[in-house]
Assembly symmetry: C2
């Protein structure tokens, strides 16, 4: 696909919604559950806080969505939080966001996959002991898919996401109607009692507040992925910002409805769920072997009549699928963000080459390995993984909102038109509110989660931040060194060219190198050989005379039977004698077709070249001789992962940036 | 050390003996034991065959040593069996020897280490359960030592070998004296009875013969490594052949004396040892947990008074040490043989670079990995490993003796002097005898061992043989293709040189490339850039005009945002237009000092170069720009492993053969 055809790949809203919303919506699958898990630490006593916490989450969600709609309008380029913050609060702050986003992408994969596996296990309990294996298996599959550059088609996303939304809404609807008809659904766990965690019973004052705040922080996972749309504005059809904003609004509404619905239903159905199933009473049998179903699963089974109802299996399938899709979004977002960072020289240049599959492969593999490691160490346990999750989310929320406030202040300074000024002011109010709220949540999360594992996420982000700054410094340093201050001086031509042709034996490649070197008509031309084996060398000299090319053959003695050093020394010597000349070394090489043939041929030419390149005033010319086996290797066209969401065409062949570019 | 100083590294006999004899002498440590293990399959009934089998082995040893002394005289170049056979029976036969020797080197490591561990365990029974771990540990240590290129000094070898010889002789001596004084040493196992293996009791006729023959084949392990000296003649002081031959003789005598001594003592002390300790009677307790001591250990303890006597520990230490040294000889022999094979183009050229540590590293690693795998799969069990061992030894014995017969026939055809003729004739008689005997043994070994594991060795040898022939064919094919039939034609100069300078941005490397290209005064010069980003390109064009170098800047459109393809296509186009011209592509590159810096810089220059080299009539010139960080990487001088035994000086730096050589 050519750049011109780009327009055709843009997304209509009905496709954009599922593509960008699978991540935020899927979090509905675990948000409620996480709230309950914290509250039940104190037994059943504090479950009555659930509605209030849910309400707080909804309020927060509303604020965040409203704030991000401002981002979408102000920054249609799709840089998202990273762009907003770097532009308004400076690169260092921007880098903080970038670092925490990178960490978050890893967590998105880990948490979504873990939760997906949870829901599969709820439907097929026999798989319980293979939890970790399943999780890592899914990561492997996603990795393979994305490495093969499977193009992410809107439709593939649309179906499961809409099925999930539809399914959950129907479930909630049915549940509520049954409730109103006086036939409220009852969760299988409703009968169980819960023993409070030691030290968490009859809490009062601060302790109680802390518990509630912890539950709230856990509930905030419902907000993960909300910013996704703000990164994808370029992929929308025109008017991009407007479409993106309205998509965001509908996403927000759907998310709120689903979250409220699921939570209400969970309260009605009296879902009793704990972190440690041994604190459940009345389950009978061995508590360690007992696996609790996810909240979604319990609701589905209670609403649709048992674990064998089609409805139950449908909900579980849709949930698991949408969670895996959510994980997949990270596989697209991560390489994309790294390529932007690479473009800004915070990560190695290679990662920037858009359309270059290799560039993305590195990102994909890195993501997969880290996520896999996390799933392994945390035994694919959603709750413990969640502790590492939302910190990054809220760091970027807060900073981007602050950035927006700055943005509006700046805009207002110059804006004359009162109408626009009013719009800007409202926007500023919204973002200020957003900044305060998300900032507050950030603090709460930090306090309540830090000791529970969040420290690891913080540490990772800091390490990334330091590394990226280091890389940038290196690039700047190099750029400064290569900058041209005085073109004249640089362009002063060397007085003469002294050409040297390396000869090891007399065969076609050597002769070709010789005749090519001659064709250049250098000021001085000589052949050079290194004597490793006395007789071999004498033989060579004789054959050279028979050739009677009027080019002298210089023989270098090599007591240590090595090649590189004598040659490099000799060339350096030539330079010393006439510093204003340059030395051109011609190396005959032959080119083979199959990689294994290279194994059979001595690669010392490469080594010698690399050593010569360290010598100033020397250039190295490879004169290739193509063996019949040398055939053009081919590189299948491929679409880079996530290209849809950044509204980008397919790349033709493995592309790369021009040589020598930093 | 320089080639001239080579003489000083040559070995006096007293050092040559331990260096070359550690392998053959160490086999005394297990040869007797292997004979007993087979005989005791039939209970104690057949132990009276031991002396006769030992006698046969001694006879065989004598013949082989005598025959190899002829080899030493006839082929002082140290090619050993491989050279003898290839010269006299043709390369294919030579390759058979080479293949079986390579397999043997692997087995030497496996068997020697396993036996060494056995003797350590005999002294420290508590280590019994760590057998495999210990064995692999030793292989790892040897690998590390040889990879680091620890120079193999004669002294390091001399001490343990002489201690071993001395120790065993003293043990035998003391034992015999005590026997003559009527106080015969009694092995701890003398009291045990042995139940015959089911189906192996009261054998008669063929069955009995087979058992005896199997015992004999196992005893033949005493001969492994005998040929070592014939590979090392160049390392001896002048007169090389004479010294080598006499060293061989003394080695033979010592080996025979030790073997006979140990075997006699084993008979006197009534050592009862079986493959399966559960066939022992009267041991009391659980037979599975019961580890039998090696024959050497049992003798030492019986002669020197128990498992806590210094004598016992001394013998065990010396034995274990000499066995590990024997394994080490393979670490020197294997890479050496591969480098000879590489020189003859049966293995990749790289392996030939003498003194190049990398070349040897590959060989060392290959050897270590295969040996380690064998030790792992066979649980470091000497007996089962031995089955794979001697087949190769006797293949090369037989073929080299045949080769020698041919050699003498040939010599006699031309030799006039009667005295010499007589010497040749005796030599021929000896070698004919050797050929017949070793041939016979080969057949016996094949029959008795094939099903017991020898088939694996045979298979491995065949695979190697086929592979090496394939490699040779490839090299010959390439050589033919590169051979110069008509120098004139090859040297016809191209009519013009069209120079192209690749430009991605304007920085110092670009300008240097430009001025260097100009210095060549090509017939046509232009700058070339690929437009990936429209604005970037326009910017570049403007800056180019400001430079006002009168070199046109050609811009290639790249709809797919890739570089390599458009450039390659463009260059091909130039060639099509004027086929009699050549195109010189100048690529500005900058050179960094640290490997990690390369990670930060786009290596697409390399990729582009490699693609361009596939295009006929094109040469690629790298114009380096050295960044301040670019420092000369240094390569510590190192002595290649096994250099002593091939009478070779230390290599200065990592050396390599001339570029483009096949």
């Amino acid at each position: 696909m050519r750049s011109e055809e780009l327009g055709e790949t843009l997304l209509p809203k009905r496709l954009a919604l599922p593509i960008f919303a699978s991540d935020p919506l899927s979090s509905v699958a675990y948000a409620t559950q996480e709230i309950l898990l914290v509250l039940t630490l104190g037994g059943l006593a504090y479950l009555h806080f659930t509605p209030w916490i849910a309400a707080a989450v909804v309020a927060l969600m509303t604020v965040v969505v409203l704030s991000y709609r401002q981002v979408v309008h102000a920054y249609p380029s799709g840089g998202g939080s990273y762009e907003v913050v770097s532009t308004n609060l400076g690169p260092s702050a921007g880098l903080v966001v970038a670092a925490s986003l990178l960490v978050d992408y890893v967590m998105t994969v880990a948490v979504s996959v873990a939760s997906g596996v949870d829901n599969i296990i709820s439907a097929l309990p026999s798989l319980a002991e293979h939890r970790v294996l399943l999780a890592i298996g899914f990561v492997a599959i996603l990795t393979a898919m994305n490495l093969r550059g499977v193009r992410e088609s809107g439709r593939a996303f649309a179906a499961p996401t809409y099925l999930f939304i539809g399914g959950v809404l129907i479930m909630v609807g049915t549940g509520l109607i049954r409730y109103l008809l006086g036939d409220a659904p009852v969760a299988e766990s409703a009968a169980y009692g819960i023993m409070p965690e030691h030290g968490d019973q009859n809490l009062t004052g601060l302790a109680l507040l802390m518990l509630v705040l912890r539950a709230f922080s856990s509930g905030c996972t419902a907000l993960t992925g909300v910013e996704a749309i703000s990164n994808g504005v370029p992929a929308f059809r025109k008017p991009k910002s407007k479409n993106a904003a309205s998509t965001m609004a509908s996403m927000g509404i759907i998310a709120v409805v689903m979250f409220v619905g699921v939570t209400t239903l969970a309260i009605i159905a009296k879902v009793h769920i704990t972190e440690d199933s041994c604190r459940l009473t009345g389950i009978g049998g061995d508590c360690n072997g007992f696996t609790q179903k996810t909240v979604i699963a319990q609701l589905a089974s209670s609403v649709f009549g048992g674990d064998n109802s089609i409805g139950f299996y449908f909900i579980q399938a849709a949930t698991a699928l949408v969670l895996i899709l959510a994980a997949n979004t990270a596989f697209n977002g991560f390489p994309l963000l790294s390529s932007i960072l690479a473009q800004h020289r915070y990560l190695p240049r290679q990662l920037h080459n858009r359309g270059d599959r290799l560039a993305f492969s590195n990102g994909i593999l890195a993501l997969a390995i880290v996520a896999g490691a996390l799933l392994w160490t945390y035994k694919a346990d959603v709750t413990s993984l969640i502790h590492l999750y939302i910190l990054g989310v809220f760091t970027s929320f807060t900073l981007s909102q602050l950035g927006m406030v700055r943005h509006w202040n700046h805009a207002l300074r110059t804006e004359p038109d009162p109408a626009t000024r009013r719009r800007h002011q409202t926007a500023r109010v919204i973002n200020t509110l957003g900044a305060c709220v998300t900032g507050l949540v950030l603090v709460i999360v930090l306090i309540t989660k830090f000791t529970q594992g969040a420290w690891l996420a913080v540490l990772a982000a800091i390490v990334l931040w330091v590394m990226m700054r280091g890389i940038r410094r290196h690039y700047d340093h190099t750029a400064a060194e290569l900058a041209v201050d005085d073109p004249r001086a640089e362009l002063v031509p060397p007085s003469r060219v002294l050409a040297v042709v390396l000869v090891s034996t007399i065969h076609k490649p050597t002769l070709r190198a010789l005749s090519y070197a001659r064709a250049f008509r250098p000021h001085h031309l000589e052949a050079l050989t290194v004597s490793v084996d006395k007789s071999e060398t004498e033989d060579l000299q004789h054959r050279w005379q028979d050739l009677d090319v009027n080019v002298p053959l210089k023989v270098l003695a090599s007591p240590y039977r090595e090649i590189t050093k004598p040659v490099v020394e000799y060339v350096k010597g030539m330079r010393r004698e006439s510093p204003r000349d340059i030395v051109a070394v011609f190396i005959p090489e032959y080119v083979v077709g199959h990689w294994w043939e290279n194994l059979l041929h001595n690669q010392s030419a490469l080594w010698l070249k690399s050593r010569l390149l360290f010598t100033p005033g020397v250039m190295v010319t490879s004169v290739p001789w193509q063996l019949t086996s040398a055939a053009h290797a081919d590189h299948p066209a491929a679409r880079a992962p996530g290209s849809v969401r950044r509204g980008e065409p397919a790349a033709g062949r493995g592309s790369d940036t021009p040589a020598g570019r930093i």
